[in-house]
Amino acid sequence: MDRKKILVIDDEPDVLTFLTTFLEDCGFETCTALNGEEGWEKIIKERPDLICLDILMPRKTGVKLYGQIRKDKNLRKIPVIIITGLGPSQYAACEFKKFIHQRSAVPPPDGYLEKPIDRETLFKTITQILERQTSCASVANSQ
């Protein structure tokens, strides 16, 4: 089985270093982006199997990028885990929930985690999402 590729988008280089190290240790392939714009380019170029997305970022926030991904018919299937915590967590959560509420056409993200990131939770969330994806895909293939 191919190694799954995870795209980590966060404006904090330290968070990127930490997450890529951890995810690589878990056996994933990784790629990174420091802001929303770069993130969009990487999604198109790298076609990741999963995206870890920060919400509060300069130049296109995570919220905007998330909407963009979900609206694109080629990319909308890519699972997204929102990882937030910059700025008071309540604020980020509020903004995100408002966004989901306002656009009921946009499906909720596949996962939602708050910083500080708990490694075990992150790993569990990712594997669960990827397993679900694979089983769905295999069902689709067998039909």
Binding site: D11, E12, D14, V15, T17, F18, T21, F22, D25, P58, G85, L86, G87, P88, S89, K115, P116, I117, R119
Partner: protein
């Protein structure tokens, strides 16, 4: 000879008529009363008022009484043989009150004994009614003045306090008897107000005098306390029969309770800030802990994998976050310390030069030029050099960040500027042509832990800057246009700093 002639004249018949006419028609009440208090004779004016009372007792006739008055003018006339003057209240034939001033004079017989008392009275009723009305009016005004929620005092042309209302006495702590002793307006009023009052006292025209509608100031109480007040001034010309002179009225409100409320409000706001501060502090620490945990994990992972470059990255993460926590602690200590600014006479240019030297090398590396623009006036100013140094370094490092964050390729520069306001306050500005601050963020700038730099800033820099400026009695303002840059301006008042 002359006397004889006069006597002859007196008994002349035409003289008798003269006297009768006078007696009957004089516009005064006249009654002749004998020793037994009976009315022997009365004139027309008497009859008009009291009716025909011939042979009646005088107390019955004048007052409708059954007994002699006490004191009795008639009795005293008989006893003392001299003119008696009394003010009396009687009753008219219509049963109404009549106030009259009565003169009672003795009339002698040929033997020289007192035979009658001649009572002559003038009706004072109208005057008494006017007096009573005046008194009632005065009482009404007195009540308005005394129960007014505004303290009032009046000053005459000689600069003497001639009137205090109840509230003014209470606020300033004087007894009614002490009013006359306050002559020293200079101690009662602050210098500025005293000058205005003096000007007003000396000016001939009321119209050349202008005074702000209400001014917040203080008055000195008897105990020497400066009582905060809101004060109004008005003047008018007083007319005779009172001394014809200009009177200045001072109206004031006691602001002590407002000041106390203000203090309470400030205290409540401070407590709210403490809450926000703790929340922000926890958040800042959480971010650093996340960084430290991440760094520790990366180090551990690198050691396992023997990946030297990853080890370096991880260790840098740890170091960076240790530095951050040290910054945060230092900032917090700076902020929490209740430091009284050490205000001295300093050269602002020297200070600008100092921070310029500190930042210039770092700025040039980042492609940003720092420029000093100072006013040609090489004046010294009062400020705390250490405190203002902290303010400027905070503002300059923000300005440099703003330039470095700016994606637009332009010649970035930071200008340090010193100038003076018309009032003589020192103005220090830090201007950049960096990214600028979004309008929605401009309001949040001086709140604790507000930072746009993610985990790179502690969010305390501007808060500390503001605190230091406020300790100088100054203000800090910001002008910013997204995409064009920002100007942070410190205004440090110099008035009254010499003492």
């Amino acid at each position: 000879m002359t006397r004889k002639f006069l006597k002859k004249e007196f008994y002349a018949p035409e003289k008798e008529e003269e006297f009768r006419t006078l007696f009957e028609n004089v516009p005064a009440i006249i009654a002749l009363i004998d020793k037994s208090y009976r009315i022997i004779k009365a004139n027309r004016c008497f009859e008009n008022i009291f009716g025909n009372q011939m042979g009646e007792f005088c107390f019955q006739a004048f007052k409708g009484w059954k007994e002699k008055c006490s004191p009795c003018p008639v009795e005293n006339t008989f006893l003392q043989g001299t003119l008696q003057v009394y003010e009396e209240l009687g009753r008219t034939k219509e049963g109404q009150d009549i106030y009259y001033l009565v003169y009672s004079a003795p009339i002698h017989n040929r033997k020289g004994e007192i035979q009658y008392a001649l009572e002559m009275a003038i009706d004072l009723t109208e005057r008494r009614i006017l007096e009573k009305k005046l008194q009632a009016n005065w009482f009404f005004l007195q009540n308005i003045i005394d129960f007014s929620p505004c303290a009032i005092l009046a000053i005459n042309e000689g600069g003497e306090v001639i009137f205090f209302n109840r509230l003014a006495r209470e606020i300033l702590g004087y007894l009614p008897s002490e009013i006359k002793h306050i002559y020293e307006l200079e101690t009662l009023f602050p210098k500025k107000i005293f000058a205005v009052i003096k000007n007003l006292l000396e000016s001939r025209n009321l119209h050349d005098f202008s005074f702000p509608i209400a001014q917040e100031t203080w008055l000195r109480s008897k105990m020497g306390e400066k009582v905060p007040v809101r004060l109004y001034l008005r003047a008018f010309f007083q007319e005779p029969p009172l001394p014809a002179e200009k009177v200045t009225l001072v109206f004031f409100e006691d602001l002590r309770s407002f000041k106390a409320l203000e203090q309470q409000k400030i205290q409540a706001e401070k407590m709210a800030i403490v809450g926000q501060t703790i929340a922000g502090f926890a958040h800042g620490i959480k971010n650093i802990v996340t960084g430290l945990e991440g760094g520790a994990y990366v180090v551990q992972s690198a050691l396992k994998k023997k990946d030297e470059s990853l080890l370096e990255k991880g260790w840098e993460m740890v170091e960076r976050n240790v530095e951050k926590i040290s910054h945060l602690t230092k900032d917090l200590l700076n902020y929490s310390r209740a430091r009284i600014p050490d205000v001295k006479l300093n050269n602002p240019q020297e200070l600008l030069r100092e921070v310029y030297n500190l930042f210039s090398p770092k700025a040039e590396k980042g492609g940003v030029q720092i420029i000093i623009e100072s006013s040609p006036e090489m004046k010294k100013a009062y400020f705390d050099p250490q405190g203002i140094h902290t303010c400027l370094t905070n503002l300059i490092s923000n300005a440099l960040d703003a330039c470095q964050q700016d994606p637009e390729p332009k010649n970035h520069r930071v200008i340090l500027r010193s100038s003076w306001t018309a009032e003589g306050s020192l103005v220090l500005e830090v201007e950049d042509n960096g990214v600028g601050i979004p309008v929605e963020d401009q309001r949040k700038l001086f709140r604790s832990f507000f930072s746009t730099k993610g985990t790179a800033g502690t969010g305390l820099g501007l808060l500390i800057t503001q605190k230091i400026v406020q300790e100088h009695g100054g203000t800090i303002t910001v002008e910013s246009h997204p995409g064009q840059g920002s100007i942070f301006r410190l205004i440090l008042p110099q008035e009254g700093k010499e003492s």
